[in-house]
Symmetry: C2
Subunit: 503 residues, 2 copies
């Protein structure tokens, strides 16, 4: 058993990326401010800490010179700040009763067990890699790869350095769109294959606007295609084969010969989403939800299978399910924004727990209301910018389908406006879709698709939704205007006003 | 006496720009929806309606080809929508007891009197033109001009077509900064002379950041100079002369020979603000506030000198004073955003009044809660972009001085961040100042100075302040992130979080 004496409050963090390291540093700050002695061990199975996964497509596209630039804080910086960081150590067992975590050194196989007073699971997410993307031995087919971590990024940079001519992107979400941008900017003839309309986190009518922009940039987009198998030619070229014959015939076997259309490429990027890495939590007896994520309360305390809080066990980030702020539904939104905030909440509460245990509560850190994670709206932005096309996408709140699914009576409207006053050279088209609840007139969601300057406008809506605003509230707000930035009424405000008038 | 028979509800609108025409159209829509018969006469002393005054500096700079492009709705479009528009008619008398407005045809001198059931004053603002900018006969000195209406714009385009070499801008606010941009982009050696720090609607430390950017673009900025006189050389060149000797000596006479520094230019733009045109209201016996604007309630009903609502009299737009949303203080913020909203509020209420009078209230338009103007936060944005420099400015809520002046205990903090993830080519510096009230922890104001993509972020803060959010609320919000658009935490959110931690 390793670690400091039990006189010190001991925190073991499993996973040293956004959630884990936010928690570690916040716990140290909070404990130190209260005069408590906290020792933090952080176990990380890879060689990397605190990197921007979202930046990888831009590294691949050539915007970022080096993967090191995506590292927000190096291992040394974490250590300098007092975190006992163990790289290349994979946590393989969590004993909640004994309060121990056992890790294996990936290089040497050496096992170490750490005792803890608090443990934080921040094991993150794994990319979805379907069986057809693996060979018979379960290894990735050369040229076919997801886009998740820095190793993926380095592999993609090398693959594109080999000057492939054709690229296929499977999946039309954020990563898919961003990799399509990277491929197009690198000059590849690019095909985007997606099961549903492009950007499935938008309503289909808004997703169609994104698709049209991507097509204008010369990308071939195939919607409604479910890749079910892969053919590797003798030249190493791969073809993704749709499982469903085009034309709506019966489904193919998914593993046999081509049942549907073939999408050929020298390289294939997988943008099929991510799943929570919750195996350790599940094996330890923690509650894992229907979406596969660890369940916590809003203080980030992990729940047991009986739904009760388990003392000393915490979880944060992409390994967790999230709670939708207003509907209260459990959702899975693996984003760095949430991981950082959940980590800080966990760290704050752990730091206070350390202060309470170490000082008998004298410092008062225990007296304050606990930190709480406020839930998610699903706010997100991205863009597709290549070959003279620049389209930005923003969204917050439920889609129409999600809102209807949670039993709400929804009114919605799409407004077309411009990002600047119409007479300005900066003016680009922007479409704003607003969703509100009939009766309460509450703003539920906003989706934006438009030219440069469009995406970030969704934050105004996110702030309004976060604070329970009605469409009438937004229509009356004092938002900013000047000709280079907006029409007199901001497009989000125009949309809310028009919907308010029609409800 | 002109106009329709008294069976029809009669509205006379004085001033056919943003507030007046928003009101006219909204009143017509509301009345028509209720089946009421409303006749709207709009009197406009100039030849122009519904134009973007904010666009004029960009017309001068060359971004806009023609002044006609700044016209949002032409006279014909207003008439087609049912407004009886009289151009070139100046309202010279308002008789509240007789319910008549008398106008004079500017070209012919013909007088007409209109009876009304409701009158809306939307007489707008006049640019501040100091005595030194006028000749002995009270006419503008050639080469010296404000930037207020389309005639000013056309004059400025002509003046710059004559290829002047040097330009002086007097005033460091929005118009001053935008004219400095126009001058610099047109290649003029430009001097900006301002009494206070550049952008006096910001705290001085934030204004200094703007000044530094403007100076980097090669503009000479002289702060603390109060122009008090003008010298016109034999070649027509003018010099603005500071009233105060530089170096802090005793004040000059302001009209005599040069007491201070001379700022020479072939052209001089006046950006000294605007004052409400409230003479007609004042003469009629309506209440005019300390700031010179017409006083109204939040339904835009004009007040009499006793503070009571005067039936049938309304006012909206730049001729009015505004109420600060939270502090309740009267302020003067002549902006198109407010003019449009106030006009709509007035129009909605007038339309209902017409419906109530015309139909005996049967249509129910009178039953709903009246429309109300929610007040102003002072949200505003602009930019300075010339000679390779691009700085954006956003602000909302009171400055530190204003907040302290209204008796609040203020905590504030400036955070430096980037507009995109630091590793992205789009990343530009952004400084965010956050003001909050101690105790309540309420967000009071946000000021932003930064590179491209900075300004509009102030809307997130404006939405939060509008809805009474605390800095903690903003710190927890689900705002958007992707590498081309933001660090993981949006800069406004970082600033709120840091301030929350320190309060």
């Amino acid at each position: 058993v390793a670690g400091p004496s039990s006189a010190v409050h001991r925190l073991v963090v499993v996973g040293a990326d956004a959630a884990g390291m936010s928690a570690a540093h916040q716990a140290l700050r909070t404990a130190r401010a209260a005069g408590a002695d906290l020792h933090v061990v952080a176990l990380e199975r890879t060689a990397h800490t605190s990197y921007s996964a979202c930046g990888i497509p831009y590294w691949v596209a050539g915007d970022v010179e080096d993967g090191d630039r995506l590292v927000a804080r190096t291992a040394q910086q974490h250590r300098d700040a007092g975190v006992d960081l163990r790289l290349g150590v994979e946590a393989v067992a969590l004993d909640l009763a004994a309060r121990t975590v056992t890790g294996v050194d990936v290089a040497t196989g050496a096992r170490t067990t750490w005792e803890y007073d608090d443990v934080l699971l921040a094991t993150g997410a794994a990319p979805v890699v379907p069986p057809w993307a693996l060979d018979e031995d379960g290894r990735p087919v050369p040229g076919v790869r997801a886009v998740k971590d820095l190793d993926d990024g380095a592999a993609w940079v090398a693959m594109l350095d080999a000057a492939p001519r054709r690229g296929v992107v499977v999946g039309g979400g954020y990563i898919g769109l961003e990799m399509a941008e990277a491929f197009a900017r690198k000059g590849l003839a690019t095909t985007l294959v997606t099961r549903r309309e492009v950007m499935g986190t938008l309503d289909p009518d808004m997703g169609a606007r994104v698709r049209e922009a991507v097509e204008r940039a010369g990308v071939t987009v195939r919607v409604g295609e479910d890749v079910g198998s892969l053919e590797v030619g003798p030249d190493g070229r791969v073809a993704c084969v749709s499982a469903v014959p085009t034309g709506g015939g019966p489904a193919g076997s998914g593993s046999g010969p081509a049942a549907g259309e073939r999408f050929e490429g020298d390289v294939v990027a997988l943008g099929l989403g991510a799943r929570p890495r919750s195996e350790l939590a599940l094996a330890a007896g923690l509650a894992v939800g229907d979406l596969g994520g660890v369940l916590t309360d809003d203080r980030q305390r992990a729940l047991g299978r009986d739904g009760a809080v388990l003392p000393g066990a915490w979880a944060a980030g992409d390994c967790c399910e999230h709670v939708e702020r207003h509907g209260g539904l459990r959702v899975y939104v693996p984003l760095g924004t949430h991981a950082n905030k959940m980590g800080r909440v966990a760290g704050e509460n752990i730091g206070r727990s350390a202060a309470g245990a170490g000082t008998g509560g004298a410092a008062g850190a225990e007296d304050r209301a606990p930190a709480r994670f406020g839930g998610v709206l699903g706010t997100a932005v991205t863009r597709f910018a290549a070959n003279g096309v620049h389209v930005e996408i923003g969204r917050t709140g439920p889609t129409t389908q999600q809102a209807l699914g949670s039993g709400r009576d929804v009114a919605s409207l799409v407004t077309e406006s411009t990002t600047a006053s119409g007479y300005m050279p900066e003016a680009a088209p922007i479409a704003v879709k607003v969703l509100a609840e009939k009766g309460s007139r509450r703003l539920l969601g906003v989706q934006v698709v438009g030219g440069p300057g469009s995406a970030k406008r969704v934050d105004t809506a996110a702030a309004a939704i976060w604070l329970h605003a009605s469409v009438d509230d937004v229509a009356g707000m004092d938002l900013s205007y000047a000709p280079p930035f907006s029409p007199v009424y901001d497009p989000v405000q125009i949309a809310c006003r028009r919907l308010a008038e029609r409800m």
